[in-house]
Amino acid sequence: MKILVCISNVPDTTSKITFTNENTAFNTAGVQYIINPYDEIALSKAVDLAAAASGSVTTITVGDASTEPTIRKALAIGADNAVRVDATASDAWFVANQIAAYAKNNNFDLILTGRESIDYNSAQIAAMVGELLHIPSVSIAKGVQVTNGQASVEREIEGGKEVLTASLPIVIGTAEGVAEPKIPNMRGIMGARSKPLEVIAAVAVDPLTTVKSYATPPARGSVTLVNEDQVDELVNLLHNNAKVI
C-alpha cells in the first residue's frame, strides 16, 4: 500500500501570534515551527498502516527550504521518503493543486492529511484534493481502518458519528482518535538524515484568495468576580446583564 501524507509546517501551538508590514504578514520572528498536530496524527496512522501491509509512506510539503527541519522530523517519525514542492503555500487552492499534481503521477492508495492546519484552519485540503483527483474524500475522520482495498471511516457529525466505507484510493482528513501521535526515537532521528527528500518545482496555479490584512481579536473587558457564597448573584448577572440565560 502506497500512502501519501500531507505535512504542513506551522507555528508551535504556544506561539504568540503577531503581524508585520502593517498587519499584512505573519511575524515569524522567534516562532518555532512544528508539524501541524493533525498532520502528525495522519502520519502516525500512515506509519502503522504501512507497517501492517508492508507499504510505504511518502510525505509532501509545500514550502521553501525553511520547512525542511519539519520534513526531517516527519521522516524521523517513520515516513520513508519526502517531497517538498518548492513554493510559498499561498492558499488552499494552490496547495491542493500541488498535492493533486504530484499524486496523479504516483498512484497512491491512500492520501492522508490533518483535518485542518492550525494556522489557516480552513479544513479545505482533503476535499479539494479528492475533487481534483475525482476520488472520494472524508474531511474530518475520527477513525480509519483499511482492509482488502476498502477503507472504513468513522466521521464526525453534529451530535454523533457516521461510519462509511469506500474503495481505495481515498483522501482522508484525520482528527484526534485516528492514531496516537508518534514520538521519534534516536534511531529514527539518525535514519531521517539519510532518507530521500526530493525537491520539485510547483505546477503553475494562480491562487484564488489572498489575505489582505490581519487583526488580533478585540480584548475582552475585565472580569467581574462573584463571591463563592453568592452564586445567586452570578445567575442574576447572567440573566439581567449578559442576557445569556
Binding site: 487552492w93 484552519n121 474524500s137 475520527k142 454523533g160 484564488l208 488580533t216
Partner: protein, 324 residues
C-alpha cells in the same frame, strides 16, 4: 445573478444553523441586489422547505431522490455546483458544519471558485473587490481575505450570524440534475446520534470542565449543570487525552472551536491552546479555586472557589431561577 445557499437537514429537519445560513445568504443577496435561492438535498417535507421562504428564500430547489437520502459529498457537490451554474450564482453559501466542511471545498473546486471557510461577518463588496473576515491561527487572529474568482464560496460558522425572519414565502421546485454514478463512491453504513445531548459546535451554552475535577467519576454534576442550562458538555485537552471524556468533547486549538453565547469553564486553568478554542464565546464564566488561573484574564464573570462546592450551589440557584 443570484446567491445560492445549500441548506443542510438533519433527518428531514432544518436546524438553527440552516436558518442562519439562509439569512446570511439573504443579506448578501440584498447587498448584490439579487435574489437568494435555497437548495435542499435529501428527504425534507414540503412544510419544512416552505419555512425557508420566511427567511428570505425566493425559491427552494428540492433534490430528493432515494439515492441521496444519506450524505455522499461527491454527489452532493455535483448537485450544488450544477445548481450554481444553472442559477448563475455569483456567491454560494454553506454552513461550516462537519458535512459542510466535506462538501464546500468540492463545490468550490468544481466551480474554480475561491472559498473562505468559517466567515465571521458579512462580506465587504465594493465593485470587483470581495473581502470577508474569518478567524486564523486558531482564533488568535482575524484575517480579511479577498476572493479573486468570479464565483465565491463562503461557509458560515454556527452562531456567527443571527437568523432573521423576513416574512416572505418561497416557491418549492423539484430539481433533478443528472449525477454521474461514479459520484456515489462512499456508502454510509451506520449513523449513531446521541439523542439526549446537545451538539457541541452548535450549542448556545457550553459547560466545560478540566483536570480540576480530579477524575471522570466527578462529571455527574457537570452533566447536571448542562442539563439545567440546556447546554452541551465539553472538556479540556488533558481530560480527553486521559480518556476521562471522549475526544469529541475536547474544545481548544486542536479540538473543537466553539462560539456559544455562554461558556462556563470549571476547573480549567486556561492554557493558550484552550483559550484559542473559546475566545469568540460571547460571555465566559470561569470557576476555579486558583485566583491566578490565566482563564480569569479572558473571563467576563468569575468565581474563585472549589468546583465541588460552587457547582452544586450553582445548579440549585439555576433551578430556583428557572422555577421563577
Amino acid at each position: 445573478m443570484s446567491v445560492l445557499v445549500y441548506i443542510e437537514n438533519t433527518e428531514g429537519q432544518f436546524k438553527k444553523s440552516a436558518f442562519e445560513a439562509i439569512s446570511y445568504g439573504k443579506a448578501i443577496a440584498d447587498q448584490l441586489q439579487t435574489e437568494v435561492i435555497a437548495i435542499s438535498i435529501g428527504t425534507v417535507k414540503e412544510d419544512e422547505l416552505q419555512k425557508l421562504g420566511g427567511y428570505g428564500a425566493a425559491r427552494v430547489l428540492n433534490v430528493s431522490t432515494d439515492n441521496l437520502s444519506s450524505f455522499v459529498n461527491q454527489a452532493y457537490a455535483s448537485i450544488v455546483a450544477t445548481a450554481a451554474q444553472k442559477e448563475n450564482a455569483s456567491v454560494v453559501v454553506l454552513s461550516n458544519t462537519f458535512s459542510g466542511k466535506g462538501l464546500a471545498p468540492r463545490v468550490a473546486t468544481k466551480l474554480s471558485a475561491g472559498i473562505v471557510s468559517g466567515a465571521s461577518a458579512l462580506p465587504q463588496i465594493n465593485g470587483d473587490t470581495f473581502e470577508v473576515q474569518t478567524s486564523a491561527f486558531s482564533n488568535k487572529a482575524i484575517a480579511t481575505v479577498s476572493i479573486q474568482s468570479a464565483v465565491k464560496v463562503l461557509t458560515i460558522n454556527p452562531n456567527a450570524f443571527p437568523s432573521k425572519e423576513t416574512g416572505g414565502s418561497a416557491t418549492v421546485e423539484a430539481y433533478t440534475p443528472d449525477i454521474p454514478s461514479t459520484d456515489f463512491s462512499t456508502t454510509v453504513q451506520e449513523i449513531v446520534r446521541a439523542t439526549d445531548t446537545i451538539s457541541l459546535p452548535e450549542a448556545e451554552i457550553v459547560v466545560s470542565a478540566g483536570r480540576g475535577l480530579k477524575g471522570p467519576e466527578n462529571w455527574g454534576m457537570i452533566e447536571e449543570l448542562a442539563k439545567v442550562l440546556g447546554a452541551a458538555t465539553a472538556c479540556s485537552k488533558p481530560v480527553s487525552d486521559a480518556g476521562w471524556r471522549p475526544h469529541s468533547e475536547h474544545v481548544g486549538q486542536t479540538g473543537i472551536v466553539v462560539s456559544p453565547n455562554l461558556y462556563i469553564a470549571i476547573g480549567i486553568s486556561g492554557a493558550i491552546q484552550h483559550l484559542a478554542g473559546v475566545s469568540s464565546s460571547k460571555t465566559i464564566v470561569v470557576i476555579n479555586k486558583d485566583p491566578e488561573a490565566p482563564f480569569f484574564k479572558v473571563a467576563d464573570y468569575g468565581i474563585v472557589g472549589d468546583a465541588f462546592v460552587v457547582v452544586p450551589k450553582l445548579i440549585e440557584a439555576l433551578k430556583k431561577h428557572k422555577g421563577n
